[in-house]
Symmetry: D2
Amino acid sequence: MAGNTFGTLFKLTTFGESHGVAIGGVLDGCPAGIELDLEAIQVDLNRRKPGQSAIVTQRKEPDTVEFYSGLFEGKTTGTPIGFAIHNTNQKSKDYSHIKDSYRPSHADYVYDQKYGFRDYRGGGRSSARETASRVVAGAIAKQFLGDMKIHAYVSQVGELKLDKSYQELDFNLIESNPVRCPDQETAARMEDYIKQIKKQGDTIGGVISCVIQNVPVGLGEPVFDKLHADLGKAMLSINAVKGFEYGSGFEGVKMKGSEHNDQFNTDGSTKTNYSGGIQGGISNGMDIYFNIAFKPVATVIQAYETIDKEGNKVTTQGKGRHDPCVVPRAVPIVEAMAALVMADFSLLNRTIKL
Amino acid sequence: MAGNTFGTLFKLTTFGESHGVAIGGVLDGCPAGIELDLEAIQVDLNRRKPGQSAIVTQRKEPDTVEFYSGLFEGKTTGTPIGFAIHNTNQKSKDYSHIKDSYRPSHADYVYDQKYGFRDYRGGGRSSARETASRVVAGAIAKQFLGDMKIHAYVSQVGELKLDKSYQELDFNLIESNPVRCPDQETAARMEDYIKQIKKQGDTIGGVISCVIQNVPVGLGEPVFDKLHADLGKAMLSINAVKGFEYGSGFEGVKMKGSEHNDQFNTDGSTKTNYSGGIQGGISNGMDIYFNIAFKPVATVIQAYETIDKEGNKVTTQGKGRHDPCVVPRAVPIVEAMAALVMADFSLLNRTIKL
Amino acid sequence: MAGNTFGTLFKLTTFGESHGVAIGGVLDGCPAGIELDLEAIQVDLNRRKPGQSAIVTQRKEPDTVEFYSGLFEGKTTGTPIGFAIHNTNQKSKDYSHIKDSYRPSHADYVYDQKYGFRDYRGGGRSSARETASRVVAGAIAKQFLGDMKIHAYVSQVGELKLDKSYQELDFNLIESNPVRCPDQETAARMEDYIKQIKKQGDTIGGVISCVIQNVPVGLGEPVFDKLHADLGKAMLSINAVKGFEYGSGFEGVKMKGSEHNDQFNTDGSTKTNYSGGIQGGISNGMDIYFNIAFKPVATVIQAYETIDKEGNKVTTQGKGRHDPCVVPRAVPIVEAMAALVMADFSLLNRTIKL
Amino acid sequence: MAGNTFGTLFKLTTFGESHGVAIGGVLDGCPAGIELDLEAIQVDLNRRKPGQSAIVTQRKEPDTVEFYSGLFEGKTTGTPIGFAIHNTNQKSKDYSHIKDSYRPSHADYVYDQKYGFRDYRGGGRSSARETASRVVAGAIAKQFLGDMKIHAYVSQVGELKLDKSYQELDFNLIESNPVRCPDQETAARMEDYIKQIKKQGDTIGGVISCVIQNVPVGLGEPVFDKLHADLGKAMLSINAVKGFEYGSGFEGVKMKGSEHNDQFNTDGSTKTNYSGGIQGGISNGMDIYFNIAFKPVATVIQAYETIDKEGNKVTTQGKGRHDPCVVPRAVPIVEAMAALVMADFSLLNRTIKL
């Protein structure tokens, strides 16, 4: 249980370092008989890909996925889906500034302490490059889920907050701007702000919101594997995430029970949805929605003081092509992780009645 | 994987319904040789117990734990620790208001939909009564952890927020008031407020903060089983939890990387701790701290309209002895879940080097 | 993963030492809605119980199971089924001969080496008493399995071998004699032989055969979790088991492929069944059958030389009331483990197609 | 848990079909800091490879493994080791005889029934080609195990049985002949016999014996994850295996306890070793030894009658280049699976004491 596997039945294991030969994974437990749209998988990979717009890192990585197994005549066979994305830029770079010293708020120090040494190239296993494998598996999960629809979007960048509930938004606009905020006016302001931050060689945090629609009643397993607990873990496992809340979230603590309780309609739906589509860890058929906080990327293109392996002070300089704000590219990752969770619980839910 | 097991190596499985014969659990993987202080376990159970103060439910449950196995001559033997807490009040009550209709924002409806029927007495498996088993196992985990210290406390009730960082607090004061807020003045205001809410037959949400000290570097497994991801799942699996954030959390999204980065001291510690003691999912030796949002308890002692199983509108009345605010009693539960996570990762971390 | 859990979805965790307060378990993942015949569970427990006939140990243990959770109005609720069997004779005995020295071919020595010390009373966790919990869970699994029927019986005691294929036997006769061999004449000879061995204060090994009928096609998961691999593990986990073979087994190695291949009938069934009902790890709809070898019980009522904890030679004397041959009482244990495996794969098989 | 993962901490997940793009796997949980001898891995792959001698299949597959991750500067990093072996002959063949009908005693029929359709090329996922991935991971496990030595060899082919105990054999001779039987005279007779079988277009079964030396005391987890139970499962998961026995095995059932008990020497070792190095599921420091029965390969190069998907009788002809006897090539597979089990329990055993 070294931590590189996610899911119980719909189960993804990933491998790969940022600048190793390849990253990839094995998706085990994907049901047989899904006619797989490979293009749709690549589309999600492209949404995560570096270099897609002016506000993300300008690194060039084609991120083309090769499938090794588990597909036959266009359909999943029920056997494990092995896949790889070869790293194309793994050789050339100069890592001396990373190799010999620890970047603040990166995982360099803890990896060295934990394992005794580390693959320092580009962050190695701790790089968010690993999430490309999640996007592949998540894109397959989405196709398994059929009508269940997952929409993630950027709802905050720094202090700039989208002050609209998800019901007021048109999810079709998410992909219409590089920020992936479905409110065009807010998106424009966010975009400007990110550019400004980038010019400073600095970075900024943000929030992604996610909505899951057309969820059947009954997904989620009491008591430890509550649906929102696994969604939370899924999101918190994404690089740079610092918080997760669903439904009324942290704001809900201020409410009284008499206000917060979601009254039933006669069809079992509820008049309000402070619960966020989940009761007692089990989906109740209403929309599931949650927010995820991302810290500012740790790599700043500025000089900074830090320590080397021996604990000596060193002064170094952040360099390379990095994201000034991680949330635009993290949108498909959030969707992917949500899809993996929902697919897993969909399968589990087939096993709970006689 | 029906969801009643938590942990990989230090592994708790719980059973039991609110008004069944008994609740309890099996703790498997607890290392041999721990001299167990059984009194300390009961102390934590008492901190969670109903009836302990005027601001919690006045139900009477002695919550005495019986150990069935895994202990010999006062020490853990390395074999599974089976335990049970018999329910003493499981027979007498009148549940007609729960049996035939669905309480809003409770799990009644989803259990019926998922399983076809449910043990409606006192919420059955969805009752927070289950968490007593977690407290037992968590209290054992604490003893395994030794010097690693876990302090949870109430930091918000409704709009009343404790505006002090944890460094300004004296954890010895947590148990000095029924709210379990270590700031006496704030605690007093919170207590008054909860009493007022209770008088209205209403309930209110709150926040628990938790700090883990003396954490060794290296706990947490990349990439899915990041330390904070499992802490998050642990907390989100507690009844009524709506959100989790660690370190800078949701506030951190507003910061720039140049501000947020924790600069190193020469001993590997950091000057600031926005990271919350965790880098890349692995503990870095600094204090771990996080916040957990709890919604207002759904049971209000007021008349309300809802639906019955056939979807007919019914009017009913909340009754019984319930908590007006869940956070005071949830403090030991938060600690227990944190202890289980830290114990599990402590064991896992023994296996990662040659 | 300390080894006290069996199964993936239909999942049993057991606890308890031979002479502790109680043994028991938690069965998680048992589907909701099974109308449970509690009497049938006790019947299986009684088949395993000491003192049931002249050829088994004469210890008195009532082995009455108490259910703590997971049942409501006579049906399983889908929540974990917690249960316990209190030990009634845990206090009185004299264990000095076990406490200070290591019984040959028992687990005393390895437990001390592994854990640093051990609960020496009656073998502690290594006692076959633990299997009573398996019988409880297995009896529930049988009821879940419905028409799938599991018949285990004694087919060999020492050199006395039942030389009939299972098709020649009447399974209704299994319970008609204390040996649990469905051939009355062979059973009588086995019974006499066991009595003779007992008189000598000695013990003897044996073989249990097991047949599973009415198995649907498709159970078993390639590639590691082959149906027969999990059946094998299940059987090998039973105390005293030394071997497992299914279908043609060890004899099959002498055959040629042209003889061994099972030719198809037009309905997908096969003319022969050397495969033992499993192809490529997946049930093919034919009867599943297998054999399990049990060693002679290690406790002999004779004087023997051994070592104490310090490695000094000591002479001691086996005493107590022990089984001269384990197989008659192991029949329900074999059935229970087979039922757990089949139930688990039945649930898993619901998840493999779109 | 779709069955393509083996192990708890030292954990292998494999993927790949016989004639897909590639087979491979992810080894997660391999400790950091092992200086990996890549050549030794390829040596084991070559021992499993087709075409290595006149008595195995004459197919040509180079079976060159590529490592994608988890290694840095010649050492394991503690991150998952991803690897692939590209299939070089996946395109050319004619599979019409497999596609439209079911080969007897193959998995064709059950895959179609279970999944609705199958990748019929070369057996797809049910092909023993998958075991090449196990050999890769097992070879890494061997290097982790250090002094613990695993020796597998052929001890029976058809009726030809090597009638020597393992103590009488020189393991250095195992690789000296194509059968992998360390007794040269018996090996020669086995080789002749296999050639004769091959000429007939037929196949024959066999037995592999395996010995593990220098095992520390304490490996294996009671009660379900007994060391021999997991070894048994590991072996039974290998294609064509029909039986597993360890220590005295099936012959041991004929013995009396007074004969079978292994008396202690004063150093904790035992005078005899009927126990096969394992007591109560835990290694006792003596040699572990076991036998594995392999059925005759199902593919015979003869005409045979079978059924097609619609249940019509068809007559077809076995063709291609197949193994007349699987055991010579299965020797490194047995070693690999044994190594994976021992590595996993070695890691687990680090976690059981305070």
